[in-house]
């Protein structure tokens, strides 16, 4: 009996525990499913968030790119418009400087015998320096250089450059080479050399010489500029080389309040006109050696200026002869001489010379023998200013 009860009890316990286990398993499964569901949901959300994040990031980057582009564009247009304004202004300056130089040259020739010439030369020097600055700014903002229409000897081109710097007397041009630069190369090479000379002058002591020599190396013509300055550091050299390559155009806005145009200008011109400039060498004085290397297309071996009209020059011989003296006066037609033609023409009274406008004097009685005529001729030749005393002599 007791056993039965026990068995029943056991059976009941077993059934209950089985039921409990089943209930637990079922619950566990349900929990697992819910967990999985939740996990899936979360992963989906995460993916979603990531997607959104990446689009936002892409947007941000796009915006940033656009902004940078806009900034760059704005800078470029600012640079362009600055250049355009400057270009207009500098062209005005350029043509004024050119006009002034031409005017000054005319004035110097007109008043060449006057003491004012010394001052005019100084003014011309100042103008030449101003013209160089104007040309430099023109190059920096992409305006064309003034152009020369005639070929010129490289010696004259360097002399032209020499005149464009302040202490031009320090420049010594060592040899003349009989090499001519083509017309198109004259102005750019002169400007480049002028800037290099200016550099050489400003980076060396104010009385140290600057030497210019010419060398021909393998079909190239080299203009070599040696200064006695302090030389350059390696860093400076590298910077200079970059500037002189002409590849990168420095921005006007980066030049600063005291712009150093020199090397950028040289680099740009060299790039435009097809020559090379190098400043990495060391001069024989320990300073900088700048070399302008001109390829064959820019120069020729011809002697440049064809000798202008050969008027025969008749000099007064050391022993003047009677026939020669009057001829001396008539050939040249210089104003002072012209006035004196009359009395000297009288020396060869019978000769052809008297045919030329000697009317008032020809009439006068001339007791002049050969010797007196020679003497008169020589005297009037040597002292044109002296008022003629012929009248009284002849009387």
């Amino acid at each position: 009996m007791n056993r039965d009860v026990l068995i029943w009890c056991l059976a009941a316990v077993a059934v209950i525990s089985v039921a409990a286990v089943v209930a637990l398993v079922v619950r566990n499964r349900a929990l697992g499913a819910r967990k999985r569901q939740a996990e899936e949901e979360l992963t989906r959300q995460l993916a979603d968030a990531e997607r959104r994040f990446s689009t936002v990031l892409a947007d941000l980057q796009r915006f940033r790119g656009e902004q940078e582009g806009a900034l760059r564009e704005a800078e470029r247009t600012a640079e362009e418009s600055t250049k355009a304004v400057l270009k207009g202004a500098v062209r005005f300056l350029q043509s004024l400087a050119a006009e002034q130089t031409t005017l000054l040259d005319g004035i110097q020739r007109r008043y060449g015998g006057h003491a004012v010439l010394a001052d005019l030369l100084d003014v011309n020097h100042a103008t030449a320096q101003m013209a160089r600055k104007a040309q430099g700014i023109a190059v920096m903002c992409g305006a064309p250089l003034g152009r020369r229409s005639q070929a010129a000897s490289v010696y004259d081109v360097v002399r032209s450059a020499q005149g464009q710097i302040r202490n031009f007397n320090r420049v010594e041009i060592m040899q003349q080479s009989g090499i001519a630069l083509k017309a198109s190369a004259v102005a750019p090479v002169a400007l480049a050399v002028a800037e290099l000379l200016d550099n050489a002058a400003s980076f060396s002591q104010h009385d140290a010489p600057i030497e210019v020599t010419f060398q021909r190396v393998q079909g190239n013509l080299c203009i070599v500029i040696d200064d006695a300055g302090v030389g350059m550091s390696d860093e400076d050299r590298q910077k200079a080389t970059v500037l002189l390559s002409g590849g990168t155009v420095p921005r006007l806005s980066q030049l600063g309040a005291q712009p150093k145009f020199g090397l950028p200008v040289v680099g740009l011109i060299a790039h435009q006109y097809g020559f090379k400039v190098d400043v990495t060498g060391v001069s024989r004085y320990g300073g900088v050696r700048a070399v302008v290397l001109l390829p064959e297309e820019l120069w020729t071996m011809e002697e440049t200026p064809p000798p202008a009209q050969e008027t025969p020059v008749r000099r007064i011989r050391r022993i003047p002869s009677a026939e020669e003296a009057p001829e001396d006066r008539t050939v040249h037609g210089l104003p002072k001489r012209g006035e004196r033609q009359a009395p000297t023409a009288g020396a060869t009274d019978a000769g052809g010379a008297s045919a030329k406008g000697t009317r008032p004097f020809k009439k006068g009685p001339r007791g002049a023998g050969g010797l007196a005529a020679i003497q008169r001729g020589t005297m009037s030749g040597r002292a044109v200013e002296v008022p003629s005393s012929e009248g009284t002599e002849d009387a």
Binding site: G112, A115, L121, L145, R147, S160, T311, I316
Partner: protein, 128 residues
């Protein structure tokens, strides 16, 4: 490059300015190298010294190589202003390349009247 709508500026002034030809020297004093002074190349003017001259100075040397020429005429033939020629001549004389013969000064001219008066006086005193 130098293209674009704006045409290029033509530079018409002489390439080598006069102050470079004068090498920055001052004008000589007024009484030196007057325009009637005569100049000639010195006989011993060495070719070596002449080679180092500027083209303008060499042209002057060529002009006066074998005879006297007045300063004014040198100026006329070289197409250089008188002042520039005087500066060049000063340099050449400094280098010992030329001889300069100054014009006969005005004071040396004698007055004919004065001379004949003296002559008359002598004649009356000593008899002709």
């Amino acid at each position: 490059m130098s293209d674009g709508p704006d045409e290029e500026l033509e530079l018409t002034s002489p390439l080598v300015p006069l102050f470079v030809i004068a090498k920055g020297r001052d004008l000589p004093a007024d009484h030196e190298y007057e325009h009637t002074a005569l100049v000639t190349a010195r006989d011993g003017a060495s070719a070596a010294a002449a080679r180092a001259l500027s083209p303008e100075a060499r042209k002057v040397m060529d002009l006066i190589a074998d005879g006297f020429l007045s300063v004014a005429e040198v100026s006329g033939h070289t197409h250089l202003p008188l002042g520039i020629v005087r500066i060049l001549l000063a340099q050449l004389e400094e280098d010992g390349l030329i001889l300069v013969r100054k014009p006969i000064p005005r004071v040396e001219r004698v007055e004919r009247e004065l001379l004949s008066a003296v002559l008359d006086g002598l004649r009356t005193k000593f008899g002709a």
